[in-house]
């Protein structure tokens, strides 16, 4: 008996060391059990597909090889004082893990990760079970879909650290039962205010997949530039891209979509209409009202002014064809026709619009209704669900398909009203998730330098967002998830990674693990994630001095200062 009882100080030591940090998984699995043993990764570690799987999709096979590469090559030192040197005594006796056995549930039907990722939002199966024993026997990963398996692999890679060439995990055994709280976990990138090369987008997709984000919302074009090459509408990019090099060819798009799919990410393409379309005037002057009119402030929320002449049947047909042409390039079941920031003065002063309105006897809102119905129908006819900015629900009186999903952006306070109208919701609120805020205004010369959505949205702020605030139980079922967004008036390749990472990971955990996470606990895991992103080539920024990162809690504001 005496031999098995722990000396009190040892027990205390164990308690303390498990209190400071257990694992640094991000997002935190929804059910996680851990032990206190160490485990080394065998140099011959392999991932073996077990069970009666006759066919393994190519993208899953590739994901398995990437996983093996990552556990070997991350070489992340533990984010503690000594960077893992104190783990050495534990490793002396630790067993080696030789294999991870991947198997699928009885009812699993085997299709590619990409196919699973592109299913309608609510039918994506991302659940998985992961067990890593400490006795050296094989770890097991069980899922019902290749997508679930992929999520489990992402978790598995986050268990491993490296010290002096030894790859190891702590706090074994680990048992994880995991699945997302919300089906939509996204990141929006605007490639129109500034162009981003395909390689940047792929790097974003990689980083997204490591935090289990599943939706790239691609705000591809806007008033400033039209980088998207659309077959049958090639003149739009030809005349509207910033330069002949700053375009996304159909091959680029296919490449991005397939790269995303293989990483469990669906691509929601947005062609913002009828506003935010000034650049279309370069190729199709007849379809744009008030193109580049000045002073821009009376015609648009930002320069240049210019909107589709939606009252015109020709313009409506043009738009429907354009949306259809773009939608056919993307396999997603979602498509965004935009719908934000419509400026009525632009139409009031547009003779063409006024003459159509008088001849049809319609008012502007009636004409808009017709435009929206026609253009949305083109998307719906392709089997896709429209995703619109909140104004389409809250500001305008237009007929939307009841399945239409609304992006609430102006303020998180808009959510309640959208829910009351019965539309499904994606949280994208400027006051929580806009990554561009706080860098000073870009409308010149603004001496005070205030941006429209100051201040900077910290990761803590986004992390502590409540997706169901003020909603009834029934309204809450309309919330699909949310996304961080990067509008790129002041961003380009030069600052893409540092402005996005690790902040965008805050919503990734919020919508996977669910709200209510503890920010202190999250901070130490977020450091870990940030360092792992750096190891994998993403320029995530430090959120504290390294001294603090290595000492969880030591840089918290002491309670003395809040009293």
């Amino acid at each position: 008996m005496t031999q098995t009882s722990f000396p009190a100080f040892l027990l205390l030591f164990i308690l303390l060391s498990t209190l400071t940090r257990v694992h640094a998984l991000w997002p935190q699995p929804r059910s996680l059990q851990t032990g206190s043993e160490a485990l080394k990764l065998s140099p011959t570690f392999d991932i073996i597909v077990s069970g009666n799987i006759h066919f393994l999709p190519l993208d899953l096979r590739e994901a398995i090889s990437r996983t093996k590469e990552q556990v070997k090559n991350d070489r992340l030192g533990r984010v503690v004082v000594g960077r893992g040197s104190s783990d050495q005594p534990l490793l002396f006796q630790a067993k080696q893990l030789d294999a991870l056995y991947l198997s699928f549930g009885e009812h699993a039907t085997m299709s590619s990760i990409a196919d699973e990722a592109r299913k309608p939002l609510e039918s994506r199966d991302e659940a998985y079970l992961l067990s890593v024993p400490c006795d050296g026997s094989p770890a097991t990963l069980v899922a019902n879909s290749s997508l679930g398996a992929f999520r489990g692999l992402a978790t598995f890679t986050q268990l491993w650290y490296n010290f002096n060439g030894t790859t190891y995990a702590l706090h074994l055994p680990v048992d994880i039962v995991d699945s997302p709280s919300y089906p939509y976990r996204g990141f929006m990138l605007d490639t129109a205010r500034h162009y981003f090369p395909v390689i940047d987008i792929k790097r974003m997709l990689d980083a997204m997949s490591w935090v289990k984000l599943n939706q790239l919302h691609w705000h591809a074009v806007d008033s400033q530039s039209f980088p998207l090459q659309v077959p049958r509408f090639m003149d739009l990019a030809h005349k509207g891209a910033y330069s002949p090099d700053e375009v996304y060819t159909p091959d680029d798009i296919a490449d991005i979509v397939s790269y995303a799919g293989a990483r469990g990410i669906d691509v929601l393409i947005e062609i913002d209409t009828p506003g935010h379309t000034s650049v279309i005037s370069k190729a199709r002057a007849e379809h744009i009202a008030c193109p580049e009119f000045m002073p821009w402030r009376t015609f648009a929320n930002e320069p240049p002014a210019g909107q589709l002449r939606f009252a015109s049947p020709a313009t409506t047909n043009f738009t429907a064809s354009l949306l259809e042409a773009v939608a056919t390039m993307f396999p997603s079941t979602l498509f965004s026709p935009g719908g934000d920031e419509l400026n009525t003065n632009c139409y009031d002063q547009d003779k063409e619009t006024q003459s159509i309105l008088s001849s049809t006897g319609q008012n502007l809102e009636q004409a808009l209704d017709r435009f929206v119905r026609t253009t949305h129908q083109a998307v719906i006819d392709l089997g896709k669900t429209p995703v619109v900015w909140e104004e389409m629900v809250l500001v305008h009186n237009v007929t939307l398909h009841p399945e239409t999903i609304a992006l609430t952006w102006i303020s998180s306070d808009s959510v309640k009203a959208v829910a009351q109208k019965g539309h499904r919701i994606i949280h994208a609120a400027a006051d929580f998730f806009y990554l561009d805020c706080g860098g000073g205004g870009w409308i010149a010369p603004d001496l005070a330098g205030n941006g429209y959505c100051d201040p900077f949205k910290t990761w803590q702020h986004a992390y502590s967002f409540d997706p169901l605030a003020n909603l009834t139980t029934e309204e809450a079922t309309l919330v699909l998830g949310g996304e961080h967004l990067l509008w790129t008036e002041q961003s380009s390749s030069a600052n893409l990674d540092p402005i996005v990472w690790p902040r965008a990971a805050a919503s990734a955990e919020l919508y996977w693990t669910g709200p209510g996470g503890n920010t202190s606990d999250a901070l130490s895991r977020l450091h870990d994630l940030s360092f792992r992103l750096q190891k994998r080539g993403v320029n995530a920024i430090p959120i504290q001095p390294l001294w603090c990162a290595l000492r969880p809690g030591a840089c918290d504001l002491p309670t003395t200062s809040s009293t």
């Binding site: 870009w442 330098g449 201040p455 900077f456 702020h461």
Partner: protein, 556 residues
């Protein structure tokens, strides 16, 4: 008459905006409206005995001209210039002249002179007829500044390198002798390559002072031969260090680019990490709760009342000062926490034995440590508290960094000290990104909001100062404290914002923000062409259309 006036209007419009985008704006500039091509066999000549770093600067300049490949920031990116270029003359020669009687010292030697004796003036003349351009200066440092201006004249379209607004004549010199940038390499570490890239960017905007806040409470990356255990035990890792060779490399790289290195060993506060190697010298090391012992974690300060510690600090400062050729050296002096000493039995014992108050002990500490610097022929640079909060004896030549708020410049000047503007309310690049202390949501940062380039650009360096007091202003600097910065966001947080103080202190205050914006776009793109990840200030659409994205568009 009708025809004439519309022609006149066309001419006026064509000259607005100016095609040249020099940064900082020369203080005296005359430009024409012709184009000039750069000949394929373009060469820079300097007759005279030429120091090696001048030769290197010449070959770097020739390289920049060929490789910048910057397209003009106008719609079409310069395609509209191609017609005018067919008839343009070609420039095949730039001649550099050192004025007669001038010393052919190295650029480095000139840059490392005392602040007020640096000669950075130059005259640049680029004719429009293809005859040789020339730069005249009375020092190699002046020639370097002229070469820097020269490189900013050139654009590229379809493989042709050309200047747009010749003839150009400028006689230029800085309004203020100190134009700096401060980097903190202690909160997070930066590899030498990051520092060199930053020095390159600084040199492009004619900054002349790298203020290197090299160590602090969090880490001690500086290897000092006599005090190796400080970095062995205090660096974040054995690879996160600056070796003596790295220091030499950085100092030489800076010098060759007209930049002096002001190293700072912050004392007696901000020294917690010294406790790892010398616990006997540090009071309240890593004491918690940290906020009653320090402004930020970890707590820990030199035991300034102790003779041994004072001698240790003096020897340490002297050892570091000997590694740097600059005539200025910063001993720091900010954010001293009295409670740390009140609760330190060792300090209380020293005070009792000597019968001194803490302030009297601080005076002894400062006199001794500053003397170690002055004995090496160097002038101490201190943070403002040394003048404003403490009652210590300073050499009247001591230079003061005004940091807490810009208004404090007045009090420092009234006390008769020379000053460097480094105010957090204008020049702190780290502000506005949220608090890094703890994990609580929505805690503001102490120096919110973000300091925009426009804000620092419109700073008045002599606000509230009398004419006599104004003479004490040496210049100023942007500063990057790196609690939330690392190699991953160094460029993007610094550039192009830091360029706003580079122009403010070279060209002088009062610049027009709208005009500056379009030149700053140009600079930002040129920085990108040279490998610095400078960020965009506006959508490219706006950058190509000066004025159109103004709140009240100035072209309407």
């Amino acid at each position: 008459m009708r025809t004439f006036s519309s022609l006149l209007l066309a001419v006026v419009l064509a000259t607005l905006p100016p095609a040249h985008a020099l940064w900082p704006q020369p203080r005296n500039l005359r430009t024409g409206s012709d184009k000039l091509k750069l000949s394929d066999d373009f060469k820079i000549h300097l007759e005279a005995h030429v120091p090696q770093d001048m030769l290197d600067a010449i070959s770097r300049t020739e390289d920049f001209l060929k490789k910048d490949h910057l397209q003009r920031l106008i719609v079409g990116r310069g395609s509209s210039d191609t017609n005018a270029l067919t008839n343009a003359k070609s420039l095949s020669e730039l001649d550099l002249y050192l004025e007669s009687g001038a010393d052919a010292n190295s650029i480095t030697t000139e840059a490392q002179k005392p602040i007020e004796s640096r000669d950075e003036a130059y005259t640049l003349n680029v004719p429009n007829d293809g005859s040789p351009a020339n730069i005249t200066a009375s020092s190699t440092l002046g020639l370097l500044r002229g070469l820097t201006t020269f490189t900013q004249l050139w654009y590229e379209v379809d493989g042709t390198i050309y200047a747009a607004d010749v003839p150009i004549y400028t006689h230029d010199s800085p309004a203020y002798p100190y134009r700096g940038f401060m980097l903190d390499t202690a909160r997070n570490f930066f590899p030498v390559s990051d520092i060199k890239r930053t020095l390159d960017a600084m040199s492009l905007v004619k900054m002349n002072q790298f203020h290197w806040h090299v160590v602090d409470s969090q880490s001690f990356p500086l290897q000092i031969p006599e005090f190796m255990d400080l970095s062995i035990k205090g660096a974040y890792s054995s690879s996160s260090v600056y070796t003596p060779d790295d220091v030499k490399d950085i100092v030489a790289y800076a010098g060759a680019r007209g930049i002096d290195v002001l190293v700072e060993i912050d004392t007696p506060g901000h020294t917690s990490v010294i406790s790892k190697a010398y616990p006997g010298h540090i009071a309240c090391p890593e004491a918690t709760p940290w906020d009653i012992f320090a402004n930020e974690p970890p707590a820990g300060q030199l035991r300034l009342a102790s003779n041994e510690t004072t001698n240790f600090a003096a020897n340490l400062l002297a050892a570091v000062a000997r590694m740097f050729p600059s005539t200025i050296f910063s001993t720091g002096g900010d954010e001293l926490n009295a409670n740390c000493y009140d609760q330190d039995p060792d300090t209380q014992k020293s005070l009792n034995e000597t019968g001194r108050t803490l302030e009297q002990a601080l005076d002894v500490f400062i006199k001794t440590t500053h003397k170690a610097i002055e004995d090496l022929g160097k002038t101490p640079v201190v943070w403002e508290e040394m003048v404003l909060k403490h009652n210590v004896t300073l050499n009247p030549n001591t230079t003061v960094l005004v940091w807490e708020k810009s208004e404090n410049a007045k009090t420092v000047a009234q006390k008769g000290y020379k000053l460097i503007h480094a105010a957090s309310d204008f020049f702190y690049l780290d502000c506005g990104a949220g608090s890094w202390l703890g994990a609580s949501p929505d805690s503001p940062n102490w120096c919110d909001p973000f300091k925009t380039w426009q804000h620092s650009y419109t700073f008045n360096p002599t606000a509230n100062l009398t004419d006599d007091e104004a003479k004490l202003v040496l210049g100023g600097q942007h500063l990057l404290w790196t609690e939330q910065s690392g190699p991953s966001n160094l460029d993007s947080i610094v550039w192009p914002r830091a360029a706003s103080s580079a122009e403010l202190f070279w060209s002088g205050p009062g610049g027009n923000v709208s005009h500056a914006l379009e030149r700053l776009h140009d600079l930002s793109f040129r920085l990108q062409q040279r490998g610095v990840k400078s960020i965009p200030l506006q959508p490219l659409w706006c950058a190509l259309r000066p004025g159109v994205c103004d709140a009240v568009p100035h072209t309407s």
